[in-house]
Each structure stands twice: as C-alpha cells, then as structure tokens.
Symmetry: C2
Subunit: 234 residues, 2 copies
C-alpha cells in the first residue's frame, strides 16, 4: 500500500453514494443500503493505480474493500508459476471478505481505481449493533459461495462454454446492454477461466465467425446473439 492517495474528502463531498448497488449485477431482493451507507461514512477512499497491489496473500485481512470506480482482480500464484484469478470486481462490488485472519488471495487494481476501504473491526462493531448489517454481510458471503460454486461447474466445461459464460456474466455485470467494455486483458480472462490466452483468443475469433459476437476492438465486445451464447452454457 505505497504511493496511494487517500481521497477521503470525495466521500464527504458526496454523501449520496455515487455508485448504487444495483450496478453490481446481482438483482437479488436484498439490498445492501445500510452497509453501503456505513461504508461511505466510515471508509477511506483510496486511489490505486493500474496493476498496483491492494493486498497480498497471507497479509492480515484487516479491511473490506468496495470498488467505487475502476476494477480489481483477486488471484493466487500456484507453485508451478501459473496464476489463478479468483474473481473480478467492478464498481459496486465488495471484496476482501475473509474467514481466516489472513487473506488467502492477493488483490490488484486492473485499471486505475478508486476503492473504499473500511476496517473490518469497524464493520463488525456495526454488525453487533445493527442486525441488518450482519445479515447483509452474511448474504454477501452466501453470494460469494454461489459464485464460486458456479465457477466449479464452469471449469469442467469446454473452452467455448467457458468463454460464452464469461461474456454473458460480464454483460450482466458491466452494463445492461449488449456492448461490453472489458477492463481486463486476455491473460486475465485466461487465468480466470483456466485456459491459455491463445485458446481464449481463438474462441473469441470463432464466436465472431459464428456471428454470436463482434469484437470491434480487443477490449470491446458486442453480444450479437445472446441465445446462441446461452445455449453454449451447457
């Protein structure tokens, strides 16, 4: 956490949350407003440059993080040098939830990002007084568990199915419509899906050939035929 600029004043100037939970892509019934509000009140807004470390594996897990702008990834480096990405976090998403005292994954900013950082102890104290907050934390955890279970199902499927699922997931999270601006590189996607960068690239090319998507520039992808993509999901 070097070379970071605390920009807490932004929070003070804008008491209305600039990012609403509805943007995080999960349209569950439960709202996180009480938690949102507390985080805004008590958190520090930090700026992380592209590719900078937010926390490292095995560091004490003292904080909870909420993406305000930009994007982050969590990951683990395996002993053979490969990198497995645990998840991508977009504006509105919360990450850094841990059950042990230490982080089991590292986290980095993918793009220049503003991230709200809150002490876990402060959140826990709040949860003790406000049951709604405890419930929201619990729900966040449950959602994380579902997300991870879904990824297990993904990892036993074909490359085409994995890439198609990824695109549909991102389209839902990043925007309502069919045009996606991906913050992450092909290597990030590959490490998330358990594929190589070449396979991801080839699969995108082939999906484009099948008129399921368009790739006007490497980071922008337009879904042309969602139904076809869904069918690939198995």
């Amino acid at each position: 956490m070097h070379s970071l600029t605390a920009v807490r004043s932004e929070v003070a100037r804008r008491p209305a949350a600039p990012v609403r939970h509805s943007q995080h892509g999960y349209d569950d019934a439960l709202d996180t407003d009480a938690l949102d509000h507390s985080m805004l009140m008590m958190g520090a807004m930090m700026a992380y440059p592209r590719n900078s470390e937010i926390f490292g594996e095995n560091e004490p897990a003292e904080y909870l993080y909420k993406v305000v702008s930009g994007s982050a990834r969590t990951y683990k480096i395996l002993s053979d040098g490969r990198r497995q990405i645990g998840g991508f976090y977009l504006p509105g998403d919360i990450f850094g939830l841990e059950f042990a005292d230490e982080h089991t994954l590292s986290a980095e900013a993918i793009t220049d990002s503003k991230i709200l950082v809150i002490k876990r102890s402060a959140i826990n104290a709040l949860a003790g007084r406000d049951a709604a907050i405890g419930k929201q934390l619990f729900n966040l955890t449950g959602r994380e568990l579902c997300r991870v279970q879904d990824r297990i199902l993904l990892l036993i499927k074909s490359a085409q199915e994995r890439v198609a699922s990824f695109l549909l997931e991102m389209a839902e999270r990043v925007s309502g419509d069919n045009s996606i601006e991906l913050p992450m590189s092909r290597q990030d996607i590959a490490d998330y899906l358990g594929l190589t960068i070449e396979t991801v690239s080839r699969t995108l090319t082939s999906l484009e050939g099948a008129a399921a998507i368009e790739v006007p520039s490497s980071r922008r992808i337009v879904l042309r035929n969602r139904l076809a993509l869904s069918r690939m999901n198995g």
Copy 2:
C-alpha cells in the same frame, strides 16, 4: 424421504455424542461443541439406505444434516447429462447449509447411513439466543467457502495432481493413518474431480506403479509415499 426409519431413540439413549467433531478432519481451533450438542438434543436420527436421496435440488432447504455414520455426496446433474459432485460428507461432517431458500444441489447417501436431521428454523432460533452457535454456523460457511475455492485450484491441474490431492484429502478426513477405505465408487471420484472413470483408474494404476500408493482392493488405498503425492499437488 420415503422408506426411512426414524431412529430418534438412539439419540435419547446416548446423550453423549457418539461422533465427536474431531473426526471431521478439520483441525481448526474453533470447536463446534455447542452446535453439536444442540443438534443432538433437537435433531432426529434418520437411516438412509445406500444410494437413497436425502434431498433434491430445488427442494426447500428446511433442514441441516450431520453425518453420524456412513457417508453422503451432494451433486448436480448438468444439462448434458454429466454429474458434478459438490462434496463428500463423512461422519462428523455437516451439510445442507444453504443461503437461498432452496437447495442448489441434490444429496444422496453413498453407503447405508445414519444422519442427524435438524430443522434450520430451530438452529436459527438457537443462534439468536446463543451467539456461539451463530458463530459456529458462520465458521462452517467459511470453511465450506475455502473448501470450494481449493477445488477451483484443483480443477485447473492435471489428472495426476487431482487424484493425488483427492487421496491426501481423504486420508486426512477418513483416518489419521495411511490406509484409506473409500466409501465412494470410481465414478463418484471421477465426477468429483472432473475426470472420467477411466482416467481416475489409470492414474491410480500409474501412482501404484510409481510406488506412491498401494491398491490392495479397489476401495482400499494405502498411501506409501505421501511426500511424492504432495509434490504432485503443484
């Protein structure tokens, strides 16, 4: 839940837990005694014959289950007909924890099993009065999340690494020593590891050839060289 025998009397007759949490294989500091005790007091002991359904996907998740004897598996059938096993549960293990109102996986007894079944509403009521129980539930969830994350790491590795990890995991859970009696079939193992039955079988044969294990009978496996197996874990 047809053709099941409620054998609640066993609980009444044996107020001292017949299965201690230490048998569940996780040697974390936190104990689940308070939860154990409540489950024994309030749960019904049920007998499930081999391969019988314990609950089905999309059924309301009204109960929590604790294996007393035997073993269980959770699983999901994919649209292409393949089966993914979510987890194996051995004596002492708790399963059926859900965040939604419905189960997202189905569960079956692997062998004839005795399973303690407790209403979630009863547990939740208890958790409201006893913070220790709430904490234990939370920890169970966290442990489940870690377990699932570990499996993601497993699924991107080679067949040999997956099988080696599986054997080490089982050795730790099923017994302290090097001899494992597996309750599940090769097909179960394959569906757990995302491999085919042939690959699992061949891999075991090759590990035997490498003197890492012995396979005196198909369900019994002796770890001969744990270090070699660990090294395969990546």
